[in-house]
C-alpha cells in the first residue's frame, strides 16, 4: 500500500512530523513501513517556460528549435518532441538541472545547433512515477509564472510511504485506515470525509431495480445512479494522487471509483446503465456452464459456486473479482450506476482460486470487508462526482443489507491486560488509546468498530493497547512457576552422537531435499514392481523432479556425489540423517511413516572396507554388538558381489551397504567406484546398548598364538571367526584377522587366512597345555567345518 503523504494530511495533519520519524513510529505501532520515496525530491533547476518561437532544424527532420522564455532570459532549446507549439507553457530543465534518476542536463549541440536545456515530459520530472509512458512534453494549463521553480510552484514534492499491511487489517489498505492509525500513533485528530452531495428530484427506482438472490455471499449491495455524465480526464491533482498511489488514471468516473477504493480500502464499480438489460441487476449464483468474457478478454465458464452480478439476461460481472467486458464506462456513456457492495470473503476467495483470477478487488474482499462502510464509500464517490462536476446525481439510493449488525462487545479488563502483557498502563490511558482507534468505551465495556473484523477476544484488546502504548516499553521477565527439565529424547541424543562421531572420523554432513524425482527409480534400477515405487505424491509440485516424497535416500546421496564429482572434488565421503516417507496405503489417506535413515556415500580413495570400517566403529561406539554383514547379490542398485545386508545380532535387518552398481554409477555420471550405506536409525537405536561398565585390568599375562590356514576361496572369514570364537573356550580373549593371501604358493581356488589369537585367564597365568588344548579344539572344528588346512 502506497500512501502519498499529502493525501494522508487531508485527514490527519502530519506536516510537523519528519518523514523518518513517521515511518519508524508507524512501524512500531503495527503498520509496517517498507520504505519511502520522495516524488520530485531529486528534481532541481526545472522552471516554468513559454515557447515563444519554433523553427525546424536545418539538418534534422525530427528536431525543432524552440526559443523559450523563462522569465529573465530566453533559452534556445532543441527538442525532438512533436506535441509542442508556440505559446505553450512547459517545464524547462535548465543547464545544470537534475531530473528523475539523477539525470543531469548539460549544455550541448544537436546536429550542430546549440541547445541550452531540455523540455520535460511528465515522466522525467517525477510527475508520473508509475511507469506509465508519457506521450510527449508536459503542457501546462493556464498562465503560470514564467521562471518559477516548477516543483515548488505546483507543490509537487511529496513523500510516498510504502506500507506492508498484514492480512488481518484490510481497513489499513486505505488512506483513511492509515490516517486513523496515524492519529492513534501520534495522538493527533482524525477527521473523515463527509460524503455530502446534492441529489436531483428524481428517484433511482425509475432507473434501476436490484435483487439479491444469494444473501449469504452478497452481504450488502448499495447503488446510486448519476445521469448526464461527462466522461473526461480527471483534474491533474486527482490524476497525480492516483499515480502516486500506484494506480493509472483512466477517466473521471473510473478514477473516482479507484480514488474511493484507495481511501476506504474497498472496491467499487461504475457501469453504464444502457448495458443493463431490463434495467435490472440480479445478484445470483451462476448457472452451471454459464459463460462470461471478463474485462481481460478471457472467456470463463462458471458454475453454481460462483456469484455473479447479472441483468435480466446475462451475467455482467464475477462478483467481487472482475467485471465483464461490457460492464465498463466508455466515452459515450451518459448514465451510470455506482455500485458499492460487500461480498463474503471466503466465497470471493474460492471463486478467485477457482477461476485462477486474482485481482485488486478479490484481494481486498477475501480479507473480509466491513458491510457498514458500504454506504459511506458510495457517498464519498458521489461527493467526488459533484466536486468534479462529472454528472447529475439521481435522488435516492438502493441499499440491500443482509448483514445483521453484529457488534463485538468485550469488557475492559485493565488489570488483566497489564498482567498479561507485562506493563503498567492506567485504565484512562487504555480508554484514550481505544477511542483513538474508534473503539467505543462505556461503563468498562468496549465496542469494536465494525471495520475491525479482526477483533474478537481479550487478547485482541490487549494487543491494541500494547502496540499503541509501545511494545518497546514492555518489560522483560523470567518465567516463574514450576521448574521444567530441559532434555533431549533418547533418539535425539542418538542422532547427535552419530553426527558427532561421523564428522569426527572424516565424513561431511549433507542436507538433501526430502522430495525427489520419480525418475530416480529407473536411475537406481529399482524394479517396476518394487514397493519403493509406492510413494507419497505432491499434487502441486514445483516440478516433476521434486514431485514425490522419497522412499529411499540412495538417489539423494548419489546426486550429492555427482555434484562433487562434477566439481572435480577428488574424494568424497558424506553422510546424512534424514527421513524417508513410506505410505501406509495408496492412495494416501493417512500420514505416511517417516523413517529416519542414516546414509553414507563415498567415491575416490575409499573402498568397501573403509565404509565398513566406519560402520563398525559407529556400531562399537553406539553399543551395537555382533552385527552381521551378509552378502546379497539381488539388489539391482548395488554391485552383486560387493554388497552386504547389515543385520543385528538377532538377524533383523538394519540396512545395506556396498558398491554402487556400475550401471547406476553411470546413470549419475560418477566415473569412479562409489559406495553407499543406508541404515535405519530407529532400528539401530533399538539394539544399541550404551551402558558402560568398568572391567578390571587383567593381572595375568596373555598368551598369543598365530593361526594360518588354507580354506576355499569363497569361505567367508566371518564364519571362520565364529567357529574360532565358539570353540576357543572362555580363555580365548581376542581374535584378530591379520592376513588374507591368494597367489604364489597358494593352490588355485584357495586362500590363506591368518589370525592372531590371544588367550588369557583372569585368575592365573595360562599353561602351554591349556592354550594348546584350546587351539586344538579350534583347529579340529575348522578342519571339519571348512576343510581348513593348517599352514606352518
Amino acid at each position: 500500500m502506497k500512501l502519498p503523504v499529502n493525501w494522508l494530511n487531508e485527514y490527519v495533519d502530519t506536516k510537523n512530523i519528519k518523514i523518518k520519524d513517521y515511518c519508524d513510529a508507524m512501524t512500531m505501532s503495527g503498520s509496517k513501513v517498507e520504505g519511502y520515496e520522495t516524488a520530485c525530491g531529486e528534481i532541481t533547476n526545472v522552471v516554468i517556460g513559454k515557447i515563444e518561437k519554433i523553427e525546424r532544424h536545418p539538418d534534422a527532420d525530427k528536431l525543432q528549435i524552440c526559443q523559450i522564455n523563462v522569465g529573465d532570459e530566453v533559452l534556445q532549446i532543441v527538442t525532438g518532441a512533436q506535441n509542442v507549439f508556440e505559446g505553450a507553457y512547459i517545464p524547462v530543465a535548465k543547464v545544470g538541472a537534475r531530473l528523475v534518476g539523477g539525470f543531469k542536463i548539460s549544455k550541448g549541440k544537436l546536429r550542430g545547433v546549440e541547445s541550452n536545456g531540455m523540455l520535460c515530459s511528465e515522466e522525467e520530472i517525477g510527475i508520473n512515477i508509475n511507469g506509465e509512458k508519457s506521450t510527449g512534453i508536459m503542457i501546462l494549463d493556464g498562465e503560470p509564472e514564467l521562471g518559477a521553480d516548477f516543483v515548488e510552484y505546483y507543490g509537487l514534492k511529496e513523500d510516498i510511504v510504502e506500507f506492508e499491511i498484514t492480512s488481518n487489517r484490510p481497513d489499513c489498505l486505505g488512506v483513511l485506515g492509515l490516517a486513523r492509525e496515524t492519529a492513534a500513533t501520534f495522538d493527533l485528530d482524525f477527521k473523515k470525509p463527509e460524503g455530502k452531495f446534492t441529489e436531483n428530484g428524481e428517484n433511482i427506482s425509475d432507473y434501476l431495480k436490484v435483487s439479491v438472490l444469494n444473501t449469504e455471499k452478497c452481504e450488502r449491495y448499495a447503488a446510486r445512479v448519476v445521469k448526464n455524465v461527462k466522461i473526461e480526464p480527471s483534474p491533474l491533482w486527482l490524476q497525480r494522487r492516483l499515480n502516486r498511489a500506484g494506480v493509472r488514471s483512466i477517466n473521471n468516473i473510473v478514477d473516482i471509483t479507484n480514488y474511493v477504493m484507495l481511501e476506504y480500502g474497498r472496491p467499487m464499480h461504475a457501469f453504464d446503465i444502457k448495458y443493463v438489460a431490463g434495467n435490472e441487476i440480479i445478484v445470483r449464483d451462476a448457472k452451471k456452464g454459464e459463460k462470461i468474457v471478463t474485462l481481460d478478454g478471457i472467456e470463463r465458464e462458471l458454475d453454481e459456486s460462483v456469484l455473479v452480478i447479472a441483468d435480466s439476461e446475462k451475467p455482467s460481472a464475477v462478483a467481487g473479482v472482475m467485471g465483464g467486458e461490457y460492464s465498463g464506462v466508455t466515452d459515450d456513456t451518459t448514465t451510470i450506476v455506482f455500485e458499492s457492495a460487500n461480498f463474503n470473503g471466503p466465497s470471493t476467495r474460492r471463486t478467485s482460486q477457482k477461476l485462477g483470477l486474482r485481482t485488486e478487488s478479490s484481494g481486498r474482499y477475501e480479507k473480509g470487508l466491513d458491510a457498514e462502510e458500504t454506504v459511506p464509500a458510495l457517498n464519498r464517490a458521489l461527493e467526488l462526482v459533484e466536486m468534479l462536476g462529472a454528472g447529475e446525481i439521481v435522488g435516492g439510493m438502493i441499499d440491500i443489507n443482509n448483514k445483521p449488525e453484529n457488534k463485538v462487545v468485550l469488557p475492559l479488563e485493565a488489570e488483566r491486560i497489564n498482567n498479561f502483557i507485562g506493563m503498567d498502563v492506567s485504565k484512562e490511558e487504555m480508554i484514550r488509546i481505544l477511542k483513538k482507534l474508534d473503539f467505543e468505551v462505556e461503563n468498562d465495556m468496549i465496542t469494536a468498530p465494525s471495520f475491525r473484523t479482526d477483533i474478537g477476544c481479550f487478547n485482541d484488546i490487549a494487543e491494541e493497547v500494547a502496540r499503541i502504548y509501545g511494545y518497546d516499553k514492555i518489560s522483560s521477565s523470567v518465567i516463574s512457576g514450576e521448574v521444567t527439565e530441559g532434555k533431549y529424547t533418547k533418539s535425539q541424543q542418538f542422532e547427535n552422537k552419530i553426527k558427532t562421531l561421523l564428522s569426527d572420523i572424516g565424513c561431511y554432513e549433507i542436507y538433501t531435499y526430502s522430495f525427489t524425482s520419480p525418475g530416480m527409480f529407473d536411475m537406481l534400477r529399482i524394479p517396476e514392481d518394487s514397493e519403493l515405487r509406492k510413494v507419497v505424491k505432491i499434487t502441486n509440485p514445483l516440478g516433476e523432479e521434486n514431485s514425490i516424497m522419497r522412499t529411499t535416500t540412495a538417489h539423494s546421496v548419489l546426486e550429492v556425489l555427482r555434484t562433487n564429482y562434477n566439481h572435480r572434488v577428488k574424494d568424497a565421503l558424506v553422510f546424512e540423517t534424514g527421513n524417508i516417507y513410506i505410505p501406509k496405503a495408496i492412495p494416501v489417506t493417512e500420514l505416511p511413516d517417516e523413517v529416519k535413515m542414516l546414509t553414507i556415500g563415498s567415491y575416490g580413495k575409499y573402498d568397501f572396507y573403509d565404509i565398513k570400517g566406519i560402520v563398525e566403529v559407529l556400531f562399537a561406539e553406539l553399543g551395537i554388538k555382533d552385527a552381521d554383514f551378509e552378502p546379497i547379490n539381488d539388489n539391482p542398485t548395488f554391485h552383486p558381489y560387493r554388497t552386504a545386508k547389515i543385520l543385528d545380532k538377532d538377524g533383523n535387518e538394519l540396512g545395506i551397504m556396498g558398491e554402487v552398481h556400475p550401471l547406476v554409477a553411470e546413470n549419475y555420471e560418477i566415473g569412479e567406484k562409489a559406495y553407499i550405506c543406508m541404515l535405519n536409525l530407529e532400528k539401530m537405536l533399538e539394539v544399541a546398548y550404551s551402558e558402560i561398565k568398568y572391567k578390571e585390568m587383567p593381572k595375568f599375562p596373555a598368551t598369543t598364538r598365530d593361526l594360518a590356514m588354507l580354506v576355499d576361496d569363497d569361505t567367508m572369514v566371518s564364519k571362520l571367526e565364529k567357529t574360532i570364537k565358539k570353540f576357543g573356550g572362555k580363555i580365548l580373549e581376542e581374535v584378530n584377522l591379520f592376513d588374507i593371501y591368494k597367489g604364489k604358493q597358494i593352490p588355485e581356488g584357495k586362500k590363506s587366512v591368518a589370525y592372531a589369537l590371544s588367550f588369557r585367564a583372569s585368575d592365573r597365568t595360562l599353561t602351554d597345555e591349556e592354550v594348546s588344548a584350546s587351539m586344538n579344539k579350534i583347529l579340529k572344528n575348522l578342519q571339519s567345518d571348512f576343510n581348513a588346512e593348517l599352514r606352518m
Binding site: G345, R350, E509
Partner: protein, 337 residues
Amino acid sequence: MKDALMKIKEQALSDIASGAEDIEALKVKYLGKKGELTAILKGMGKLTAEERPVIGQLANDVRNAIEEAIAKEQASLKEKALAKTLLEEKIDVSVPGNKKEIGSKHPLTIVLDELKDIFVGMGYEIADGPEVEYDYYNFEALNIPQDHPARDTQDTFYINDNIVLRTQTSSMQIRVMENKKPPIKIIAPGRVYRSDAVDATHSPVFHQIEGLVVDKGITMSDLKGTLETFVKRLYGDDAKIRFRPHHFPFTEPSAEVDVSCFVCKGEGCSVCKGEGWIEILGAGMVHPNVLKVCGIDPEVYSGFAFGIGLERLVMRRFDINDLRLFFENDIRFLKQF
C-alpha cells in the same frame, strides 16, 4: 715417592686435558690395576710408619684428582656427542604436519545444535513431529480455517485435500498441547516446505525452530525476557532485541522480533541495510482459540510461541550469501565449517 706421585698427577692431568689419548685408555693407564698409580702404591710397604699415612694421604689425593679430571672429561665428551646427535636430528619444522582427516557437521546442524543447547539449558524439551502433516495441524487448529487469506502467505504443497507438507513447525504446537499438560516448555526444530522457486534466498525446503511455553500466568514480558536471554547467548551480551507488532493467526498479540545488528551494533551498515536491526523471528502470545482446540482453558492458562528461521540465522552467522549452498553439498563448502 712423593715426587713420583706429584709427577704422575701432573702427567695425568695434562694428558687428560690435552684430549690426545682416548679417555678410557688414560683411565686404565693411570688408575687401572696395572696402572702407574697402582704401581707406585705397591712400593708403600717399604715406607716407614711415619711416612706411610702421609704418602697414603697424598696418593689418595692424587687418585681423586685424576678421577675427578677423568669424570669431568667424560661428561664433557658425552655432552659433545649428544649435541652432535641432536644436530644430526635437526628437522624442518615448517614442513606441514601429517594429515589427520576429520569431516564436519553441516553448518545448519552446527547452529541448530547451539540453539538446542541454549534452550535445553533454559529447561526446554525438544519435540519432533511429522513433516507430512494433516491440514488440521498445519492450519485449521492454528486458527487458519479454509479460505483464510493467511494461507496465501505460505504457498503450500498438497498431498491431498487433508494432507500437506507442513509449511511451519507451528503444527507442533498443536501436537504437543494435545499430548502434554502444562507446564509446557518445548522447542521443535524441523523441516518445513513451501512452494517457493529456488533462488539465493528461497528454498522449497527449509528449517524452522518452533518454541512453545504454556503455563499459568505466562506473560508477554516472559516472552521478551526469554528471547532476550536466547539472543544474548547466541550473539553475545551486548545483543539487544526489538519487538514490532505483527500478525500471525495463531498468536495474539504478535510480534516480529529484530536483533540489533551484530556487525555494526545498531549503527547501521550494509548487513542490516542501514536499519541497525535485523529481523530474526516471529513470536506472540498463543491465541486463545488455539489453546481451546487443544483442550487448554485460556482463562486459566496462557502461553507464548515463537518461530525462528534457521537458514537465515546460519547465513548471517557465517556470512553465507546464497541459500542454495546448503543443499548443494559441495564438499569444498562443507569443509569450511
